[in-house]
C-alpha cells in the first residue's frame, strides 16, 4: 500500500479532525476579527473551538499504529491531549492580551500554534513533522511582535525569529540526510530500513545516520532550549510578557521532545549508540548551566527562563535513558526513559504555565511584575496567589507531594535502570549513575532559587501592594494548573507514569529488535559508535 495514501484517503484525513477544528477556529477568528474587534468574544470562540476539538479527540479511538504519515498511536493520543489541555490554559492566559486592539490576531495565532503542537504529536512522517513544527513557530513570531512597541520586545521577537529559522533549517538538513540514507520520509519505513540492513550497507552509509542524528538534535535542542543552544531564551522571555513567555516555555518544548522521541529514539535505534551520548552530554550541560545561571537572576522571567533551560536538561535524561535502553541488554525497557520524559513534560508544563499565569495575574496590562523583589510580602498581601506560586515553585523543585516529585522520580528511576550490555564493560551504566547523581545535585541547586522566590514572598515585609489586575481569565488558567499539579502530586502521579510508559511502548513503529538482531547490531562496524 502506498504510504502516502493516508493523505488522500478519507480514513486518514478523518484522523485529523480535532486539528482541523482548531485550525478552522483560527481561520474563523482571523476572518471575523476584521469585522468585530471584541476583546473577549474571540477568546470564547477559541475556547469553544478547543472544546469541540477535545470532544472530537475523545470520540476517536486509539488504533494500534496507523501506518502512514499520521501516527495516531497511544503516544500521539497522549501528547495531543496534553497540547489541547495546555491550549486551554494558553487561551485563558492570553484572553486579555497586551495588544488590546489586536485580540483576534493574538487568539487566531495562538490557535494555529496549538494546532501545530497537536500535529507534531501525531506526525509519523518527516515532511508533516517539519510543517507542523513551523505551524508552531510562525504564529509565535506574530504573538511576540503584535502590539508591542518597546525596543526590548522587538529585540526579543527578532532574536527569536532568526534563531528559530536557523534551528528549523538545521533540523531540515538533518531530515535530508535521514531521507538520503533510508530513501523514505516515513518514520516507520525509516525504522524498518535502519534495522533490517546488512552490516555491509551500514558500513556503506558511513557516518551519515550519525550526522543526521546530530543535526536533528541540534535543531530540536533550540526548540527545547537546551544548552548550548539556549542563549536566546532568557533575553526573549525577559523582553516579552508573562503570557507569551508561558507559551514559549511550554509549547516548543512539548513539540521538541515529541519530535525527538519520534524521530530519534523510536525511528533510529541504529544510531542509539551516538544518541545516548549526545543526550546525556546535553542533559548534564543543560541542567548545570541552567541551574547555576538561574541562581544569580533577579528578573523573574529570566529566572524562569533559566529554570526552563534546566528542565530541558531533565527531559533529556529520560531521552538518554530511552536511547541507551534500546541497545539492550535483554529486558531493558526504552519506554521507561521515554515515558519518563513524556510524563516530565506534563509535570513541567503545568508547573511552569502555572507560575507564569500567577505572575501575569499579579501584574496589570500596563505594568507587569519584573523582579523577584517585587514579590516581597506577597504571602500577606495576596495570600492565595502567593500560595499558588509557592506550590508551583515547590513542584518545579521536585519536592513531594507535588507533581514535580513524580517527574524526578520517573527520570531518576529510568536513568538508574540503564544497564550495560554484557561483554561491553560497565561504562554505560556508570555514565548513567553519574548522570543521576548530577541530576540529584542539580535538583538541590535548583531548590535554592525556587526557595528564594518563596522566601521573598513569605519572609520579607511587603514592598508595595501588587496590582493583581491580570484579570479573571488568567487567574482561572493558574487555577487549572494548580489543580493539575496537586492532583498529579497527590493522586495520579504513579498512574500517569505507568500510563505514559504504556503509551510509548505501544507506539514504537517496529517491535524492539530480537536478541538475534541485537547481537548483529552490537557487532556493528565502528562507524556507528556504540
Amino acid at each position: 500500500m502506498d504510504p502516502n495514501a493516508a493523505y488522500t484517503s478519507a480514513a486518514g484525513v478523518l484522523q485529523l479532525i480535532p486539528e482541523m477544528i482548531v485550525v478552522g477556529g483560527a481561520v474563523f477568528v482571523f476572518v471575523g476579527g476584521t469585522f468585530a474587534k471584541s476583546k473577549t468574544a474571540w477568546s470564547w470562540v477559541a475556547a469553544a473551538g478547543l472544546a469541540a476539538a477535545g470532544l472530537a479527540l475523545w470520540t476517536q479511538k486509539v488504533p494500534g499504529g496507523f501506518a502512514g504519515p499520521i501516527a495516531v498511536d497511544a503516544l500521539g493520543y497522549t501528547l495531543r491531549w496534553l497540547v489541547l489541555l495546555l491550549g486551554g490554559v494558553f487561551v485563558l492566559a492570553l484572553a486579555r492580551p497586551a495588544a488590546a486592539g489586536q485580540a483576534p490576531e493574538v487568539t487566531g495565532s495562538l490557535l494555529l500554534a496549538i494546532a501545530g503542537g497537536m500535529i507534531v504529536s501525531v506526525s509519523g512522517e518527516l515532511v508533516l513533522l517539519f510543517v507542523a513544527l513551523e505551524t508552531i513557530s510562525i504564529p509565535t513570531y506574530v504573538l511576540l511582535y503584535v502590539g508591542r512597541k518597546d525596543s526590548a520586545s522587538q529585540e526579543s521577537a527578532a532574536k527569536y525569529f532568526f534563531l528559530s529559522i536557523l534551528s528549523s533549517a538545521v533540523t531540515l538538513y538533518g531530515f535530508c540526510f535521514l531521507y538520503g540514507v533510508t530513501g523514505s520520509t516515513h518514520l516507520a519505513e525509516i525504522a524498518r530500513v535502519l534495522q533490517n540492513t546488512s552490516v555491509a550497507a551500514v558500513a556503506d552509509w558511513g557516518p551519515l545516520p550519525d550526522l543526521a542524528l546530530v543535526l536533528i538534535f541540534v535543531g530540536l535542542a533550540f526548540k527545547i532550549a537546551a544548552a548550548p543552544f539556549h542563549f536566546y531564551a532568557p533575553d526573549v522571555y525577559q523582553g516579552t510578557t508573562h503570557e507569551n513567555a508561558m507559551l514559549l516555555a511550554v509549547l516548543p518544548k512539548v513539540a521538541g521532545i515529541a519530535a525527538l522521541i519520534r524521530v530519534t529514539t523510536l525511528a533510529m535505534p541504529l544510531a542509539a549508540g551516538t544518541g545516548w551520548r549526545i543526550a546525556l552530554f546535553l542533559a548534564v550541560v543543560t541542567m548545570t548551566v541552567g541551574n547555576m545561571t538561574a541562581l544569580w537572576q533577579k528578573n523573574v522571567r529570566r529566572l524562569l527562563a533559566y529554570s526552563s533551560i534546566a528542565h530541558a536538561g531533565y527531559l533529556l535524561i529520560g531521552l538518554a535513558a530511552g536511547f541507551a535502553a534500546t541497545l539492550g541488554p535483554q529486558g531493558s525497557r526504552p519506554e521507561e526513559g521515554l515515558g519518563a520524559s513524556v510524563f516530565y513534560l506534563v509535570v513541567y508544563a503545568f508547573s511552569t504555565a502555572g507560575a507564569f499565569a500567577a505572575l501575569a495575574y499579579l501584574g496589570s496590562p500596563e505594568r507587569q511584575v519584573d523582579t523577584v523583589a517585587e514579590l516581597a510580602g506577597l504571602g500577606r498581601t495576596r495570600p492565595v496567589s502567593a500560595a499558588a506560586l509557592a506550590v508551583f515553585m515547590f513542584s518545579l523543585a521536585g519536592v513531594p507531594p507535588l507533581a514535580g516529585f513524580w517527574g524526578k522520580l520517573s527520570l531518576f528511576l529510568s536513568a538508574l535502570d540503564v544497564r550495560s550490555s554484557p561483554g561491553l564493560g560497565a561504562s554505560r551504566q556508570t555514565w548513567f549513575i553519574v548522570l543521576a547523581v548530577i541530576g540529584a545535585l542539580n535538583a538541590a541547586v535548583a531548590a535554592t532559587y525556587y526557595l528564594r522566590v518563596v522566601a521573598t514572598m513569605y519572609f520579607l515585609p511587603p514592598a508595595k501592594e501588587p496590582r493583581a489586575e491580570g484579570g479573571g481569565a488568567v487567574r482561572t488558567a493558574g487555577g487549572l494548573c494548580l489543580v493539575a499539579v496537586l492532583l498529579i502530586g497527590l493522586l495520579l502521579g504513579p498512574m500517569l507514569i505507568q500510563a505514559t510508559q504504556d503509551a510509548v511502548q505501544a507506539s514504537a513503529p517496529v517491535p524492539p529488535p530480537k536478541p538475534a538482531q541485537q547481537a548483529q547490531i552490537d557487532g556493528a562496524p565502528p562507524s556507528i559508535v556504540r
Binding site: P383, P400, L416
Partner: protein, 577 residues
Amino acid sequence: MDSTGAILVASIVLPLVGAGMCYGMTRAGREVVRKVALAFTLLALVLAALVVSQAPRAVDPQPREVEGVAPDEFAVVDLSWGGAGEKTGQPAAFDVRFSLGLDGLSVWLYGLSALLLVTSVLVSWEQIDDRANEFYALLLLLETGVLGVFAARDLLLFYVFFEFTLIPLFFLIGVWGSEQRHYAAMKFFLYTLAGSLLTFLGLLAIVLWDYSQTGRITFSILALKQGLAAHPMSAGLQYWIFLALFAGFAIKVPLFPLHTWLPLAHVQAPTAGSVLLAGILLKIGAYGFIRFSLPMLPDATIHCAPFVLWIALIGIIYGALVALSQSDMKKLIAYSSVSHLGFCMLGIFAFNALGMQGGVLQLVNHGLSTGGLFALVGMLYERYHTREIAQMGGLAKRLPIFAFFLVLFTLSSIGLPGLNGFAGELLLLIGMFQRGMAPGPHGTQLLWIAVLSVTGVVLGAWYMLYLVQRTMFGPLREPRPAHGAPEHSHAPVRDLSRREVYALLPLVVFIVWIGVQPSFFLTRTSRTLDPLASSLDRRVGTAHHVSVVDVPSNNTGGLTSTARHDEISASGGPHGP
C-alpha cells in the same frame, strides 16, 4: 484494613484536615485558631494512643500468616496509590502503594510525635501572635508528615513524607523564627534536601536491584527486604548504596561534620519548631539507618560501622565540649543534641540487641528530655526576652515550678537512675562494650570507642548541671530589660502558668514511666529489633547473641522485675540463632 489500621490512617489524615481548617480561619483570630489546633492535636494523640496500645508485647506463639505483612507489624493498611493497577486487576508494573503500619521500631517514635505536637501547640499558645492561622496550619501539616514518616511501609511513601516535612518547617523557621531566620530556614532546607536527594537515588537503586533480580518493581519495604535476603547484593554495590543513603540520613541525625545546619536551625526556630526538630525530626535520620541501611545493606553497614562509630564518637565529645562553652541556653541544648544523637548511633551500630534497643529507646528519651528543655527555654525567653546564661542567676527563687521542671528534664537528659535517660544510656553503653569485647574484627578499636564515649556522659552531666547551677541557683540575678524597653518591661515575671505545666506534664509522665519500667517499652521494640540485631550479630561473626533478658533489669524494683523477666524471655527466646 483492620480497625487499628483505620485508626492509624485517621490519626495521620486528621491533622491534615485540621491544617486546612486552621488555614481557612483567616478572620478568627488566634484565640480560636489555637484552640482548634489544640483540639486536633489532642484528638490525634488519642487516636495515636489507641493505635500504640494495640502494640503486641511479645511474639505470638502462633504467628498469623498474612500475605505481605511481617510478623512484627500491626495496624497495617495497604491501599493502591491513585488506583494504579486496580482497573486491570493485576498489580501495575509501577506499583506505589499507600501502605501504612507500625512495628517495634516505629511504634514509640510514632507515639512520641503525637505527644510532642500537643506540647508544641501549648508552648506556642502566647508566643505566636502574628499570622496564627498559618502557623497552626503548618504545625498540623508537619504532624501529618512526621506521623506518616514513621508509619510508612512503602519506600516511596516514606520518602514523600520525609521530604514533605521540610516544607512546613521551612516556613515555621523562616517566618516565626529569630533574627537570622531567613538564613537558617534556607540552610536547613537546602542542606537536608541535598542529602536526601542522594538518599533518594540510593533507595531507587535498591528498588532497581530488586527489579533486576525478580522482574517486578516494588516499593514495599517488606518485599524489598525479602527480595534482598533471597538475592543478596554484591558488597561493592552495597557500599555505594550505603554511601548514598548515608548522605541524607547522616545530615538528618546529624553526624559530626554534617551537623552545622543544626545549631542554626534549632536556635533560630520558634520554640515549637525547636521542640519538633530536636524531638522528632532528628530521629528520622537514625530511623532511616535502622529501617533501610541495616537490614537491606548489612555487609556494607558492617564494613562501614567503625567509621560511623568513630564520627559518632567525635560528635559525642565535640558536641559536649561545644555545649559546655555556650553562653546561649538554646545553643547549649542544640549542641547537646549532637552529643546525644551520637550516643544513639553508637547503640544502633553496636549491632546487638542491647545496643540497638538502647539506641532506639534513647531516641525516644532524647525527644522527651530535649523537647522539654527547648520548651522550657522558650518559656524563659517569653519572660525575659533573652537566653544569655550570664544574665541569669538564682531564678529558682523567682520561678520555683520552672526550676523544678528544668532540674527534672536536666536529670533525665544526663541519665539519672530512675529516669528515662539512664535506661537508654546504660543499655546502649553495655551494648557497645559488649561489641567491643566480643571476638570479631576491630575489637580493640571498638572497645576504645566504648571507653571514650563514657567521657561524653561525664561531659553531658557537666554542661547540663553547670547550666542549671548558673541560672537557677546562687544569688538572684534577673536579666536587664531589653535595650530601649522601659524599665522592668518583662515584670512582673510569673511562674509557669497552668497551660505551661500541662505542656510539660505528659513528657514528665513518660520520663518517669520509662525510667521505672523500661521493660514495658522494650518488650514492644524487641519484636523488631531482636531479629535484626541477631542477624547482624551473626554476620559480624560473633555468634553470641544476648537479649534484653540477660541484663540484670535495672531500677525496675524487685517484684516487677521478675514478672517482666518472664514476659521478656518469651520474646527473647525464639530469636536465638
